[in-house]
Symmetry: none
Subunit: 212 residues, 4 copies
DNA sequence: CATGAATGAGAGTTCATTCAT
DNA sequence: CATGAATGAACTCTCATTCAT
């Protein structure tokens, strides 16, 4: 989750004058990394709560750093947003992988993925917005998601539990579609019904070919 | 500076109703009404393209009027947005009514509604955003939509072609959900597949009760 | 008061089609004058109520004419304001003249003028503002006022009832000063006390010379 | 773009209290505080010259800061105006207190207050407007002023040098009234005459009761 | 000549980003 | 290298004045 960074070669900078030799070894690096993490954490929380349009100040405030520090780590709000969402997206996908690996039944794996997607994204405004609008925060994210879904689909197809002709794209789009649903309807009971309907439409009970 | 004006979808405000010579009394409002229509048309187009957050100046520019004119017709950006969306929404719903009335088969009426919803709203960002977030631009719009969908559902239910237990709310949310899908996926062929899947999940081939 | 206007050479314009030849002689002139009067009346009322910062539209609305008509009669808001205030000022001054002429006692004439000034101006925001800030809407108005006050002063002086050395300027400024008082204090009882104080300070009970 | 900054009349916000080395802890706020002071100084000057309706940009320009800086320090124009006026008002009242305390003779204390009020407020449009219209920029300011005037009145009353029945409200209103006078009349010599007249009207030479 | 719709230069305010300390 | 104050373009909205009808 933490990115690869160049090793700690920096000497103590000119400011740390008084105290002594104790902090000489690596006084800055740790702080910087901690700040970076704090910023991402705050950004993630703030974006999740208020969406992508929040004031950057709110993130700086919440992370306890100044604006300069924030902009030292991330050249623009856009970059911070993207990274934050990537991270959330990745975390979610990782968990999805684990779940799927632990679920022997192919169909249960697929429907479990849908359920987790909705549950996770329901509480993250910015993430969901990106999922709704472009399918994910990054091309790369969307791609990874596609790959994962493709595996799920493969398993289902080989087990003959999914409607013939359903493509990976279909599943990707459908999951995005349902994420949106979570916002329209208020509570969980309601969107679970829609999920059930969509999943049922995907089942091998339907053998008719899909259009085109 | 003056662009070719879009067609007048706005209904004239109740003055020029009868065909004869009676319209001679009020020759003044002619171009004012044209401006008003131009503003609405421009606003509709701009909101559709860029979403509800565009600069009002862009709308003024596109409609070929000054800011003052715009604000003479609409006291606030909010009002203009609401009216534009209401109009689009109403036009869509009206057309939906007509179509449904002309379709004898209940299931075809329902699926026709979905198809038209997706086709119409697909290219209107602001409208879709409102549909996604609150179900429509206005409480009244949402209500009308709900009533209409309820009729469709009733017809299907009495014909026994819809899965038992499907509520009007389910259908409303599902249509919103699919509208969003249209943006994620690019072309028509793709979202038609998702629509088919969802509709199949609604069919009476599934008798299992929905959650809760 | 009515401005010189070009004679009534205009034929009946293209709109007045139906009625007949009866209105041919001088159909416009009367209207114009009536409009002008209506505008001034409305402006006076509106300025009195809301001060000089009101929207010109309010005046047009209240006078029942369009903006074009208003601006045909008065090239700018400033002009309208000035004329309206001049008129009010003149009316007030005229009345003051009459009262003074009907009051034999010099001191009573002077104090009566003060009282009337306060009473009248108390209910005219714009007029009072101009009086407070510049002494009147126009140099000419201020001058007329000065001349009138000078007469009052003369009478008092010859009767020996006014403090020696009090100049016309003193009285003019003092009346303006007291007008302002009317706004600070709420009700009539309060500003009458201040008026009494000031007038007492003007009385011949004080024989000390004024500064300078 | 950067103008020479006016002197710092603003009290530093309670940090740099003691003289020693303790001030080393917070070196940051130095120029921010200077900016804040510059803004207040500019605002005070601009409001004094042009009244409360000036463009905020003029204040920003005059203080040599951008709009953002101005709005960082003051959330709204209203706030800036209020603070500026409060400060001016307080400074004036403080000075008035000192003068009054240093003046043994009660009547001289009272008349000295009037003189100082006129001298100070004469050249501050916004301050004077607020004094004229509401008695001061703030309820609190008005109250303090009233309390102070009440002390002056008490002293005069106990010394028997003030006309019986003169209330604090009378004095407050009278001072406001005279402040306005300063603007009407041009030079100092003229308004001193009016002040003399009013003060003489307040003297115990008049024993007649005031109205009501 | 009346009408009132159109104009557009600002008004107050916000916020992503930069830069002096 | 952190800080958070400074920046200024951009936003929504107003209103004195003009101009097509």
């Amino acid at each position: 989750m933490s990115e690869p960074r160049a090793a700690e070669t920096t000497a103590a900078p000119s400011t740390a004058t008084t105290v002594g030799a104790s902090t000489a070894t690596r006084p800055r690096r740790a702080d910087a990394e901690r700040n970076r993490a704090a910023i991402i954490a705050a950004a993630t929380a703030v974006f999740a709560e208020h969406g992508a349009d929040v004031d950057v100040r709110e993130i700086a405030r919440r992370s306890g750093v100044g604006m300069g520090t924030l902009y030292r780590h991330f050249p623009s709000k856009e970059d911070l947003l993207r990274l934050s969402l990537e991270q959330e997206f990745t975390a979610w996908l990782t968990q999805a992988h684990e779940r799927a690996a632990a679920t022997p039944d192919p169909w249960q794996a697929l429907s479990g993925f849908f359920e987790q997607a909705l549950t996770t994204q329901a509480h993250n405004r910015a993430l969901m917005d990106s999922y709704i609008q472009t399918g994910g925060p990054t091309e790369s994210c969307v791609h990874k998601c596609r790959v994962f879904i493709d595996q799920l689909r493969e398993r289902c197809e080989q087990a003959g539990v999914i409607r013939p002709g359903v493509s990976t794209e279909d599943l990707l789009a459908l999951s995005g579609s349902l994420c949106n649903t979570v916002q329209i309807v208020g509570d969980e009971h309601r969107w679970r019904r829609l999920m059930t309907i969509s999943l049922d439409g995907l089942s091998s009970r339907h053998l008719e070919p899909l259009p085109s």
